[in-house]
């Protein structure tokens, strides 16, 4: 196993959990990002608040990249193949809204609320994600 970083992963996860708690306690809404994204790009209630959440989601990384750790290179290693990027993005958008949630909405909020549907959804997207990566590795696209 290389690059195993359980401590930073756990700290990051706890911070995400704190955001979920603050957001729910104050506004009564669940911090499911795919739903917030849909509400922002379509005409819906709380559109401005939703857009502000997403802007915050960009400001947080900006603070770390450019103010807190300006000397550390930004770790963003992504495929440069648009044959993966465009269908990948489309399936993430389409699938999360059809399935009613993503890693945050089902994976953290849903499982945190002991929703059986969210547990099933999370297992399914983890399995299809792992199968997809396995196939891409067999094709030599990912190492």
């Amino acid at each position: 196993m290389h690059n195993f970083t359980p401590v930073s992963a756990l700290i990051g996860g706890v911070i995400i959990g704190l955001s979920v708690v603050l957001y729910f306690y104050a506004t009564g809404r669940l911090a499911g990002i795919s739903g917030i994204f849909e509400n922002t790009i379509t005409n819906s209630s709380k559109r401005v608040s939703n857009a502000l959440f997403l802007i915050g989601l960009i400001i947080g990384p900006l603070l770390i990249y450019y103010l807190i750790l300006p000397d550390k290179p930004i770790a963003f290693e992504i495929t440069n193949s648009y044959l993966l990027i465009i269908p990948g993005g489309f399936l993430v958008g389409f699938g999360t809204r059809l399935g009613g949630g993503c890693t945050s909405g089902h994976g953290i909020c849903g499982i945190g609320r002991l929703s059986v549907n969210s547990m099933i959804a999370t297992v399914i997207f983890l399995i299809t994600g792992m199968i997809t990566v396995y196939i891409l590795q067999q094709l030599g696209i990912y190492l």
């Binding site: 911070i15 947080g60 963003f76 992504i78 699938g95 549907n117």
Partner: protein
């Protein structure tokens, strides 16, 4: 006003958590999904950390009808498991595995100013709007 401020602050905190946990690095996510080869299990701890913190609060607050700033609380009701949840989650997982970005990190990735991140985000928006227009 309070709602807007809380939303912005929650987003900032969430985004910081994503960077610290390295969910914002697609290569890290692919390593996590690569269960048969050099598996990097770190990201289990992200979901675990989030659930450990949020779970007890959801339990304590489960019967509340209004939030701290007075909003009505409308939690999703326990629906029957339907094909949409299964098919949608399966498709999401495929997209996630193709690139290594899920919705939160896809939006946070704007902070990298990498053009590829913008192409992914526009494709994701197209997927959301397509679903909205073809599935009730």
């Amino acid at each position: 006003m309070k709602d807007k401020l809380i939303s912005l602050v929650s987003g900032v905190i969430f985004g910081i958590g994503l960077v610290i946990s390295e969910m914002t690095n697609p290569d890290k996510v692919i390593g996590f999904l690569s269960i048969t080869h050099n598996w990097d299990a770190s990201l289990i701890f992200v979901m675990g950390g989030g659930i450990i913190v949020a779970g007890p609060f959801f339990f304590l607050l489960k019967n509340k009808e209004t939030s701290a700033i007075g909003n009505q609380i409308n939690l999703p009701k326990n629906q029957k498991l339907d094909n949409k949840i299964i098919v949608g989650s399966a498709l999401f997982g495929i997209g996630w595995g193709l690139v290594g970005l899920c919705p939160g990190p896809a939006i946070a990735a704007v902070a990298t100013f990498d053009p590829i991140a913008f192409v992914f985000l526009i494709s994701m928006a197209a997927g959301v709007l397509t679903k909205k227009n073809i599935v009730k």
